[in-house]
Amino acid sequence: MTVTNTRQIQYKDALIESLTQEMQRDPTVFVMGEDIAGGAGRAHLGITEAWGGPFGLTKGLIQQFGPSRVRDTPISEGGFLGTAIGAALTGFRPVIDLMYMDFVGVCFDQLISNAAKIRYMMGGQAKVPLTIFTRFGAGTGNAAQHSSIYYGILSHIPGLKVVVPSDPYTLKGLLLSAIRDDDPVIVCNDKKLIKMSGAVPDHPYTLPIGESRIPLEGQDLTLVGIGYTTQLCLEAAQTLQSLGVKPEVVDLLSLSPLDKETVLQSVRKTNRLVIVDEDTPRCGIATDIAAIVVDEAFDFLDAPIKRVTAPHTPVPYSKPLEDHYLPSSEKIVRITKELLNRL
């Protein structure tokens, strides 16, 4: 799909716009989360909205849809996620704002035991059309308990779907798909993208869950990015191009289901693969892709598969340490050069 509309808006605004359009279209959609309006229950004091969501991602919704469809919650993630699952089982399409991805910890059971399994263990009787959107990632000095990435863990769980938009355009298309999807979908938003601007059509549109994109074609090696790291791959690609190397960039978009065909096809062409992920290295999406490729495209591989990830450590607070923690386009370029020097 090509973007014909050239209106530039922020990631944040694309999120609000998507929610607004879908809530207008479908009366069974409602949003629930901590401070998504804020100041709840104080209409008598002239306060209907305060925060409009952490980072303002739900700003203005309550004015349009009222407090029963834009529902502030107590700090009870397990309870309100379970409540959302119950509502999804009985005909609604709840959208949950999970403030930070770290908080999957306190509602993990509802995710893995109920949202993911109910349909299966009850023989396909039920569906759970639930969307969760959440913020993740380091780089903001929020330290170990507010910077974590758990999308690899979530992708491990059969029954869950997981997507990671990489810009305002993909956010809107994937969020609308997620809300319309009949399975639980987690839409993971890198904090570092929230102020990014990009071209976004103003009408509602969807991008299929389970399909990756190729924002840059090339033939010398494949760089796979996830969300923000796709931007890093594109940055690194510029440097590499100036050195005469032509990388292809795959923007994964969907982690579960995984569009392995797009990755495999690319590697069959380029014969080399570097996966860039801000998640920690063990048992994550990067290892997953490496494992699939060495299984299914072994004969096309000319070099080891490299992974650029965070180290196996929690996220540190101090700036120099956190800077070093993160993947960067420099690291991608360095690893790529090492890989090509094997020739």
């Binding site: 469809r69 309870g79 409540t83 119950g86 089982l89 609604f92 059971d109 109910i118 009850m122 023989g123």
Partner: protein, 328 residues
């Protein structure tokens, strides 16, 4: 309160069906026809019956690992339940869930959930649906005394209360969670004492007496239906068997205690009540017993004669629009 004969017979038949279903199931389990854990609710039949007597198809319940009684009281077909526990493709969940995951969404039975406490918020969510739809259906969250100490219960009660949702939290306090007695594990004297902290009414009642359950549940459900919000109903009850089929309860409780409760058997008690107050119903008890026995024998036959599902079932139902294996 004077009850209609129809209600009396429904209560009787429902309790009896549960009892008979489980006693027969245990026989089959001891022959190795079932797998995993079977958690009999024998002794506790008064609670599901007394509560669900107030419910229509459009009302919802969520249930626990000890859920046969809830399913039966909510109208789930015993053939499909039995076949499910035999793992057959004709089971209500195609044999994929077994005893601890029986559900029937067509009947508002949102499922027995095996993680202790985890079914409770599902009922809260169903109640939220009713509120959003502005209809008058209510939801029941059944849970055990052990579940009372799970955080999710606390969160669910708070949510239901602040949003005034039409849900009744029904605690089946059978006084044990596995081998652990409630008085050890739970700091409250009565579990219903906790209701006050959520600004909702709480009652503790005799859960061996189906009429007591019926009356109290009527009040709680009536409140919910009328838009007056949630409440907590603790029913003191007792399971005659161990935690699961195969567990010997005499390792953690005394024979005398067991006998004391057996003397208060909910079905026998109710037969006495019928004899006194509903002689017409009492007169038909033999017929009902026979009907029930026949229906359960049929269920057993149905389960035996049904086939296992094809291996492809393994990959189905993971997602709505694609099977687990097509794309990883």
């Amino acid at each position: 309160m004077e009850l209609s004969n129809q209600t009396i017979l429904w209560l009787y038949k429902t309790m009896l069906t549960t009892r008979c279903f489980e006693e027969r199931l245990i026989e089959e389990a001891s022959k190795g026809k079932t797998r995993g854990s079977i958690h009999p609710s024998v002794g506790q039949e008064a609670v599901p019956a007394g509560v669900c007597a107030h419910l229509a198809m459009s009302d919802y319940i969520s249930s626990t690992h000890r859920g046969h009684g809830h399913a039966i009281a909510k109208g789930v077909d015993v053939n499909e339940m039995m076949a499910e526990i035999f793992g057959k493709s004709t089971g209500i969940c195609k044999g994929k869930g077994g005893s601890v995951h029986i559900a029937d969404f067509s009947k508002g039975m949102l499922g027995t959930i095996g993680i202790v406490g985890a079914g409770v918020p599902l009922a809260v969510g169903a109640a939220l649906s009713s509120t959003l739809r502005q209809n008058d259906s209510v939801s029941i969250a059944f849970f055990g005394d052990g579940a009372a100490n799970q955080g999710i219960l606390h969160e669910s009660m708070n949510l239901a209360s602040i949003w005034k949702l039409p849900v009744v939290f029904v605690c089946e306090n059978n006084q044990y969670a596995d081998a652990t007695p409630v008085e050890y594990a739970t700091s409250a004297t009565n579990i219903s004492d906790r209701a006050a902290g959520y600004n909702m009414p709480g009652w503790t009642i005799d859960g061996m007496n189906v009429l007591a359950v019926y009356d109290a549940a009527g009040v709680a459900i009536g409140r919910a239906r009328a838009g007056q919000g949630p409440s907590l109903l603790e029913c003191k009850t007792y399971r005659y068997y161990g935690h699961f089929f195969g567990d010997n309860p005499l390792t953690y409780r005394l024979k005398e205690e067991q006998e004391k409760y057996r003397e208060q058997d909910p079905i026998l008690q109710f037969e006495n009540d019928m004899q006194l107050s509903y002689p017409k119903c009492f007169a038909s008890r033999k017929r009902i017993r026979e009907e029930v026995t026949t229906s359960i024998e049929k269920a057993i036959e149905f389960a035996y004669s049904s086939p296992y599902g094809p291996i492809t079932d393994l990959y189905d139902d993971v997602y709505v629009n694609y099977a687990g294996l097509e794309t990883l």
